[in-house]
């Protein structure tokens, strides 16, 4: 089985599906001849030509608006928003149009657009190449939101996303685009949307993370184990609709939970998960649910490591939560 990095896995999925299904088109800024600023679409232009690998004018609203129209007409567009920080000009199209198309037409029209976009910090990108806006999209009824952490899941989730009929915002963790390597099967397989992955079992505390922070959480969990704290680590993979059963089963077992994300804390996904867990696991909880997140500030250029919820801060959250006595 070949070892790929996360970018190569995304590229592999796109190529595979474009060969299998001629309705799939890739579009965005610099995705064609150049193969994307991160090279996620490298080689696709050469293989599938300019009609299916489309270099668009520089307007995110236009990219998503035209992608919606293509999907309405029966194509499977995969627009790339170069950085998720630049998705806001398309926010109106995503929120007002894409998310609501099925509902407002009572299923007559659907727009299964899969929007790929790199998210998160850690590449020295400052305010506008680092953001994690996933909660804004989770808040919109009608969207599926996905964020893989590793190459195997990236390929399998992207293939699954391309084969279902709802719009998907597919957040790719650019901090680990090249650093995350792993064995990826050649050919076809899917990782179903809506299923979390239990990466490590433990019975004292549940750590919930996604995207690049899974790798930080994994380090923190290792450290915690050396202190004798046995953590269960869950990679959400699909952020919405999320795998509530796996989360509830874990917290019913451990009674303690730490939720990790790069996005700012207030109104972040961590708050929603904490609410869901207290509704379902109230009698099992032995400590307040802890959120270890990005701060409620814009994303800083120089102090980016201090902004991010890296392993040391996650470990602190684990320690405090594990030792909490009511």
């Amino acid at each position: 089985m070949p070892t790929l990095n996360l970018l190569q896995a995304v590229n592999d999925a796109l190529r595979l599906e474009m060969r299998r299904d001629n309705r799939v088109v890739v579009m965005g800024e610099d995705v064609g001849k150049f193969g994307g600023v991160f090279r996620a679409t490298a080689g696709l232009y050469e293989e599938f030509g300019p009609e299916r690998v489309i270099d668009t004018p520089l307007a995110e609203g236009g990219i998503i608006g035209t992608a919606i129209g293509m999907a309405l007409y029966g194509l499977k567009p995969v627009p790339e928003i170069q950085f998720s920080d630049f998705i806001y000009p398309a926010f109106d199209q995503i929120v007002s149009e894409l998310a609501k198309m099925r509902y407002r037409s009572a299923g007559q029209y659907t727009a299964p657009v899969v929007i790929r976009t790199p998210f998160g910090g850690g590449i020295k990108g400052g305010l506008y190449h680092s953001q994690s806006p996933e909660a804004l999209f989770i808040h919109q009824a009608g969207l599926r939101v996905v964020a893989p952490s590793n190459p195997y899941d990236a390929k399998g989730l992207l293939l699954a996303a391309l084969r279902q009929n709802d719009p998907v915002i597919f957040f790719e963790p650019k901090r680990v685009y090249r650093a995350a390597k792993g064995e990826v099967p050649e050919g076809d397989y899917e990782v179903p949307l809506g299923e979390a992955s239990v990466m490590r079992e433990g019975d004292q505390l549940t750590v919930i993370a996604y995207g690049a922070m899974v790798h930080e959480a994994s380090q923190a969990v290792e450290e915690a184990a050396s202190q004798g704290i046995g953590c269960e680590l869950i990679d959400l993979r699909t952020l919405w609709p999320l795998d509530i059963d796996t989360l509830v089963a874990s917290v019913q077992k451990t009674g303690r939970a730490v939720i990790v994300h790069e996005a700012p804390r207030t109104c972040g996904l961590g708050g929603e998960i904490a609410a869901l867990l207290q509704e379902r696991c109230f009698v099992n909880l032995e400590a307040p649910i802890r959120r270890v997140t990005g701060w409620d500030t814009p994303f800083p250029y120089t102090l980016d490591e201090e902004y991010l919820p890296l392993a040391p801060r996650i470990l602190q959250g684990i320690e405090d939560t594990a030792r909490y006595v009511a």
């Binding site: 236009g62 608006g65 309405l72």
Partner: protein, 376 residues
């Protein structure tokens, strides 16, 4: 040279090679009696469709005043623009409408009862009462669902047209907009993408001179809307939108140009919103009654009727009979549509996703339990 003519000149010069009677007609808006495209039969069909939506709109505005419906956006004064443009389409062509193009889907065969049921938002509405009145959509006649957001449909139309081109279909996509929408960012991106993609799309701007209370000269400093097309490398055409023949000729030329693979056109139809923006609006607060009176003399329905009379293709006895027939049809349809029950409560949670995720199942159960315990 008048601004309108200059835009036409620009438009026609880009079509020099295919110069024929069609473009001549488009350039001579207002002097159409002998044009080759819309023969008497076509004029009669358009007249019937125009009178039908005039009749429907009048009845619906009355219903709104009686409190039987919540909202309505009438097409009154713009029937030639709506019908004349839609008449240029084939059955397989697509329409991305704005507020005043419901008449297009009626012209293209959508039934009146479900159309009116949408206004009531009841179980007869094929969109399950989800949207405000005058937001109809029907895949059966390729009238795409639209939001109340101004301009967003335009880039979608470009995408659909691009998809049709990619699939090698001969579908043309028509995207409607008002004069206010030309100020939106989506108008700019759609025109720009359409130019770059050479997409088979026709933008039809119903310039009715008012965006709720704001006149067109507060939307743009351009000498016309049509001339904006030039900057995007597209032809722009401006015609008398209250002359159904002029509308048809200009739009049909643009549609055929798109179908031949020559790309997009912006057609500006100069017309007038004779009534309010919607049932929630009071134009007497911002509009000079003299302006309204002046435009009433150009009423597109009356103009076409006079013309048909002059052609000896129609007479007042026939006209009275048709008016009675259409009123009867509309009243019967209203009666049937109004009698239908509301959508079932469970439909509230349908069609958010394909299938029903766990959280919507939970929320549906919570609502049904609340209704069981405490009523609606």
């Amino acid at each position: 040279m008048a601004p309108a003519n200059r835009a036409l000149q620009l438009a026609s010069s880009s079509r020099k090679k295919s110069s024929n009677k069609k473009t001549t007609v488009a350039r001579q808006s207002g002097a159409m009696s002998a044009h080759p495209l819309l023969h008497t039969q076509g004029l009669l069909e358009c007249y019937r469709a125009m009178l039908r939506i005039r009749t429907l709109d009048e009845r619906m505005m009355t219903l709104q005043r009686q409190g039987r419906i919540g909202f309505y956006g009438a097409c009154t004064g713009q029937e030639a623009a709506c019908i004349g443009s839609a008449y240029a389409l084939r059955a397989n062509d697509w329409v991305f409408p704005a507020l005043r193009e419901g008449g297009a889907m009626l012209l293209r065969g959508f039934a009146l009862v479900p159309y009116i049921a949408q206004v009531f938002g009841n179980s007869g509405d094929i969109t399950k009462g989800r949207q405000m009145p005058s937001h109809q959509a029907a895949a059966s006649v390729h009238q795409v669902s639209w939001s109340s957001v101004i301009g967003t449909q335009l880039s979608q139309a470009v995408g659909a047209a691009w998809a049709a081109k990619l699939k090698k279909d001969d579908t043309v996509v028509m995207a409607y907009l008002g004069d206010g929408a030309t100020s939106s960012n989506d108008f700019h991106v759609a025109m720009n993408f359409a130019g770059v993609f050479k997409a088979p799309v026709v933008f039809v701007c119903q310039n009715n001179h008012w965006s709720i209370s704001v006149p067109t000269d507060h939307q743009t400093a351009s000498e016309s809307i049509a001339i904006k097309a030039v900057a995007y490398g597209l032809p722009g055409v401006k015609v008398d939108g209250n002359d159904v023949s002029a509308v048809y000729a200009a739009v049909a030329a643009a549609v055929e140009r798109a179908r031949r693979g020559q790309g997009a056109t912006l057609v500006e139809l100069e017309t007038y919103r004779m009534g309010a923006h919607s049932s929630s609006d009071d134009p007497s607060r911002y509009r000079d009654p003299a302006e309204v009176e002046a435009w009433k003399k150009k009423d597109p329905v009356e103009r076409l009727r006079s013309r048909l009379f002059a052609l000896n293709a129609w007479n007042s006895a026939q006209d009275k009979a048709l008016q009675a027939e259409l009123l009867e049809e509309v009243n019967t349809a209203i009666k049937e549509a109004e009698s239908l029950p509301p959508p079932s409560i469970a439909t509230l949670f349908e069609d958010v996703y394909q299938g029903e995720p766990w959280h919507l199942k939970e929320q549906r159960a919570e609502l049904l339990e609340s209704i069981k315990r405490h009523g609606r």
